[in-house]
């Protein structure tokens, strides 16, 4: 039964197979768990006043980002960081923008739900309310019982997190023109995109945005930081970690703007230009480029969009549960 959920959600837009994402032994994939996680992902009852679901910030059509620089929480508290996309999040070795120790999706769920820096969904101290609220719904009771038979239907924050993590592991995106190009269908990448890839490679972008998901999953300092956000230093207290943020995956990057950890770059071109690192501190020493080079680079980044992923009904808000309309 393990990995059944992945098999359910992993459409095969291209002819080759991708590796199986890592799945924790204590949270095996099942179709029932994924179905529950999908419903929970779109349910605003996961926020204290019922106004914010996970999907409020993670919109499928935007690669599971929200189009804002940052977003206020349920009480209006200002957001701190830009919403990251979720394509292939199952493979991310580190989660969130600046916490090298956060490596499990099950643990990340607590950041928006129960976190207070900043307050997002506002459920801190309301774990019992979460179970009580969801438990009033007979369909949820049935879904939790099927998804977690070992818990005998108990609805709690642990089960909610496990189900959400299982659903997120089905957010698999390997259908972009770039993927098809890598699979041998060279015609899927336009000449401009190919030239852009050459610029991308020559300028050292691959040193951080390399690999299958165009990220090294590491934390780097590429920008002088704003006083309000010291990046990894906020977790470690080490001044050497100041302004270090995780390299974001570039999958679906064309639809996930605005960019950078604080959403301060409105366009891809602006984000690229702000990778101007002094030579002594990093491999990216020159991001100045001509207009045509930037156009080619943008064409390449456009080729990382997976349209099927952005509209895959298996990842969208469910219309029914337990055989009835929601």
């Amino acid at each position: 039964m393990a990995l059944a959920g992945l098999a359910l959600a992993a459409a095969a837009p291209v002819s080759w197979r991708w590796p199986t994402p890592p799945v924790p032994q204590d949270n095996p994939m099942t179709a029932d768990k994924v179905a529950l996680g999908r419903r929970l992902f779109y349910d605003a009852d996961l926020s204290i006043n019922g106004t914010m679901a996970c999907s409020a910030c993670h919109e499928q059509k935007r690669g599971f980002t929200d189009g804002n620089a940052t977003r206020p929480g349920v009480h209006g508290d200002p957001g701190l960081r830009n919403v990251p996309g979720l394509a292939n999040v199952a493979w991310r070795k580190r989660l969130t923008w600046a916490d090298a120790a956060l490596t499990r999706l099950e643990d990340q769920v607590g950041i928006p739900l129960f976190g207070d820096h900043p307050v997002e969904m506002g459920m801190k101290g309301q774990e019992a309310e979460l179970g009580r609220r969801l438990g009033k719904d007979a369909c949820y009771r049935a879904m939790f019982a099927k998804a977690f038979p070992e818990k005998k239907g108990r609805i709690d924050a642990t089960a909610v997190s496990a189900a959400l993590a299982a659903f997120e592991r089905t957010m698999i995106s390997f259908g972009s023109p770039y993927d098809h190009f890598l699979a041998g269908k060279e015609s899927t990448l336009s000449p401009a995109a190919r030239r852009g890839y050459a610029v991308f490679s020559a300028r050292g972008c691959l040193s951080c945005h390399g690999g299958r998901d165009l990220t090294d999953d590491a934390l780097h300092a590429i920008l002088p930081g704003a006083p309000a956000d010291r990046g990894l230093m906020e977790k470690t207290g080490l001044s050497a970690d100041r302004d270090h943020f995780r390299t974001p995956s570039l999958r679906n990057v064309a639809v996930t703007g605005p960019y950078l950890h604080d959403g301060s770059a409105a366009t891809m071109a602006e984000a690229i230009r702000r990778h101007a690192i002094p030579p002594a501190t990093g491999p990216l020493t020159d991001v100045q480029m001509t207009g045509s080079q930037m156009a080619d680079m943008t064409a390449f980044l456009d080729s990382l969009t997976d349209p099927a992923f952005l509209s895959d009904q298996r990842l969208s808000m469910p219309a029914r549960a337990c055989g009835r309309p929601l």
Binding site: R71, V74, G79
Partner: protein, 174 residues
């Protein structure tokens, strides 16, 4: 007039039904509410209207263009929306529906005192928004969404509001 241009500058042209909630002006930086721009002057003088919980109740939940409303909403669990909102609220949230009539084609701006989700329906079909943004600083308007509308009868759906009451206004953008 200056304020009018400020308001225009914070509206962003976006495609389709994009409707986001970027940072509003922090309330803490507003020692007092400032008057809204002239075309939204009624924001300071709302009338009370109860939201409809289903299509049959729309006749009693009419609102007028350019007249602000202090809306009393329904519990989400009691509402039968005409069209399921893209972001439905949870069971503890509030929402409802209102009917309004457009007499002249043009751009109409829906202003809210919260970040609730809104849909404008023609029949059962949601109209794509033409732009969105947050309200003028310290005006009490948190969110504004523009729609290009033709003459006719429309339904305004409100979903995922945190409170049982909501200031709102449908204004002709001039």
């Amino acid at each position: 007039m200056t304020r009018y241009y400020v308001m225009l500058s914070i509206m962003m042209a976006v495609p389709a039904s994009a409707q986001t909630m970027d940072q509003p002006a922090p309330v803490a930086q507003c020692p007092q509410l400032l008057p809204p721009p002239p075309e939204m002057a009624s924001w300071a003088h709302p009338v009370s209207v109860d939201a409809a919980k289903d299509a049959r109740g729309l006749a009693a939940a009419g609102i007028s263009v350019d007249q602000a409303v202090r809306a009393t909403l329904k519990g989400t669990g009691d509402i039968q929306y005409i069209t399921r909102p893209e972001k439905p609220g949870g069971s503890v949230s509030y929402g409802g529906m209102f009917g309004f009539v457009v007499k002249e084609a043009g751009t109409y701006r829906v202003a809210l005192g919260s970040g609730a989700w809104i849909d404008i329906l023609r029949g059962k079909k949601a109209i794509a928004s033409a732009g969105h943004g947050h309200g003028p600083a310290c005006s009490g308007i948190r969110k504004m969404v523009d729609f290009a509308l033709k003459p006719g009868r429309y339904t305004l759906q409100i979903a995922a509001n945190g409170d049982a009451t909501l200031p709102l206004l449908v204004a002709r953008a001039r």
